[in-house]
Point group: C2
Chain length 464, copies 2
Amino acid sequence: MNHIEGVLERIDADIDNSTDRLFDLLKIKSISTDPAFKEECRKAAEWLARELSEIGIKSSVRDTTGHPMVVGHSEADASKAGPHVLFYGHYDVQPVDPLELWETDPFEPKIVTKPDGSKIIVARGSADDKGQLLTFVEAARAWIAETGSLPLNVSVIFEGEEESGSPSLDAFLDANSKELSCDLALICDTGMWNEETPAITIMMRGLMGEQIDITASDRDLHSGHFGGAAANPIHILSSILAGLHDKTGKVTLPDFYDGVSEVPETVTAMWDGLGFTTEGFLGPVGLDVPAGENDRTALQQIWSRPTLEINGVWGGYTGAGFKTVIPSKASAKVSCRLVGDQDPEKIRSSLRKYVEDNLPADCSVEFHEHGSSASTHVDYTNPAVDHARNALTEEWGKEAALIGAGGSIPIVGDFKNKLSMDTLLIGFGLEDDQIHSPNEKYNFSSFHKGIRSWARILDALAKA
Amino acid sequence: MNHIEGVLERIDADIDNSTDRLFDLLKIKSISTDPAFKEECRKAAEWLARELSEIGIKSSVRDTTGHPMVVGHSEADASKAGPHVLFYGHYDVQPVDPLELWETDPFEPKIVTKPDGSKIIVARGSADDKGQLLTFVEAARAWIAETGSLPLNVSVIFEGEEESGSPSLDAFLDANSKELSCDLALICDTGMWNEETPAITIMMRGLMGEQIDITASDRDLHSGHFGGAAANPIHILSSILAGLHDKTGKVTLPDFYDGVSEVPETVTAMWDGLGFTTEGFLGPVGLDVPAGENDRTALQQIWSRPTLEINGVWGGYTGAGFKTVIPSKASAKVSCRLVGDQDPEKIRSSLRKYVEDNLPADCSVEFHEHGSSASTHVDYTNPAVDHARNALTEEWGKEAALIGAGGSIPIVGDFKNKLSMDTLLIGFGLEDDQIHSPNEKYNFSSFHKGIRSWARILDALAKA
């Protein structure tokens, strides 16, 4: 019996209610990186556990040393044919600063109609990842409403610390490995190739984050009294940061490129066929000169090459007007995107040694670790990739692309290493979603057709 | 008739009331650089005009396009022998951040007794410049109370924008040049050589301030999606800032050292006799390696050599936790201390050109000027220098030193150029006063003996 047409009709009929539910979730200010929003994170977890339980995926909020997890399971049915899938998403969101650049309140979601008549959902988390994770939940809702059950066994885990380096995840997976080990993991936290072309992501960069705090004098100094003689930590930090890249855009840290391998030609050939252009990629954000390694294409730079970026820098007087101070301290937040077999902790050590080696004798440095994850590769010979690809192609009317991604979803490695599961990375984000930036949005079509896509993928996997 | 002993006795008897008056002024939050404190600046001006008028120096608050000036004059008496003096001070103070490093409220002045029994006055502005300017006002008060008048004709000007580059000063001096042109200017905004040795400052560095705002992409970007391909303005800014000095500590800007001349041997010989040590200077602030030009002594570095310092830097995410952002903008506040005949505006142009020349083609920069002043030299052959030096030597029991100073008091140049007056720079600050830093203090002995010093200097100038 083929239920999928009924499920899809139900999704279309219920889309306004689905949107209302998304708005409810988007209104919760679940910024995980800022302790001020701790209670809001819990509120988001409780909202999800309630929604899942109501549709028949019995779920609970599970405490960790940080923000809680939500874990749920559909009623187990051994007669179901397909794989038991574990769906992962994260309910936490990025901070919203600079707030003054938002055109609407980041936590008051709005539907905006664009000049071409298409609609977007504007709010922090609309694309990363609340809108995306809800595409799966709403697909499950439609399946159960239409047929009384899901076509295969489904478990769910939602995390609340993805945007702050997932500090509690490892311990939680270890402690609950039996409960969470399924046959295949599904994640909706990636993008489409473009607005018309769905994609499965098969290659993602890892991440290593580090904060560097340099101290020179033990107090702020007057630049008139001490200027010239006293070490200025902003000068020192600037020189250290400037020395991290050479003139060709390569990272200078010793052994940084250990473990970086070239992408196989079968994959690069597929990429060459995607019609990617540097102008098309950088133009929409106001740039046109690729800034990284100058012997690589921009697509290689973002998908298959490692990076070192300074994500924040601060020191001295930064307010209105002027203050002729030589500050005591200056700081930077640095992160590396990693590929292949690069070892995040080796790179962290190399960075720390480089900073220490370049510090004047009377200055000191403190380091603060901000998480790490190795690069991950999906085994694209897993037959589930083909089934999902077909389902996506059917929904979107364009063949789904197998792509790389510059961002990191560390849990893919954990699912493989701790729970022995492959992961399907399927998402409906777009380059212009402005995730992590002001005015984050999610295309309404990503939301609607994303729900329909998951309904089809569940169907395809169940029949496999 | 010799009044000075009576005046000094009156100062001693009245010192508690003098301190109470200082506390009243210190409680006013007159931070000129931050628009939020506009009304507090006016309050400080009104307080000063009232106090001066009460003791017989008729004063008024005079509006400018920024914070107001206070101008006052003692009753003119053509029979008075000495020079007509104009005393200058500034009632505005530096911002107080980082507030968490203050041990007491910066605007709740406290007397603290140190382990050796000496007392200090702790508050923002205690040394820079409210405590200092009040030494003159209290000396004038004692003279008038004791003798019915001042020993010479006195005018006063108090500014409220010294800490923010004195934007209204030039126009005000031009508009009121007739009223303000006297025979000699007196300023109390400098330091002693050390706690026992008074000093007259004969050489001060100039200042040029500039803010650099670099823009790369037109929005904040996700470092996973764009990292490697998109220009990062913090990298660009760091490289630009790092390139401003070479390995010997010299500033690299073209023509930066034009107009820098060597100090005459007569002066350096005097300096060599002062017993200055690098350890004694840098040790108390937790440093021991002179950071500037490596072919100069630390004393030369701070008194007679130009500098370029980064006073503030900011960009990207600087809050708690981590945000993997490539920001759109990064900024720095830069200032140069200038000596000899260095031209501040030529150096500003050189800095701007250097930044523009080092900017990637798809990035842009905005500059914001934060004031400038050339270096100033006091003519130490003016006989007033000797009279004042003798008066100081008498009060402190140690010969007053003729010193250089790293900081800038731009008005000295204006007094010379616009009003044809030489200036005597006499102050009672100390290296450990932590001006512009948390826990600013002024030694109680600086305040008390400072008042006595001015009483003696007025006497000495009147008799000259």
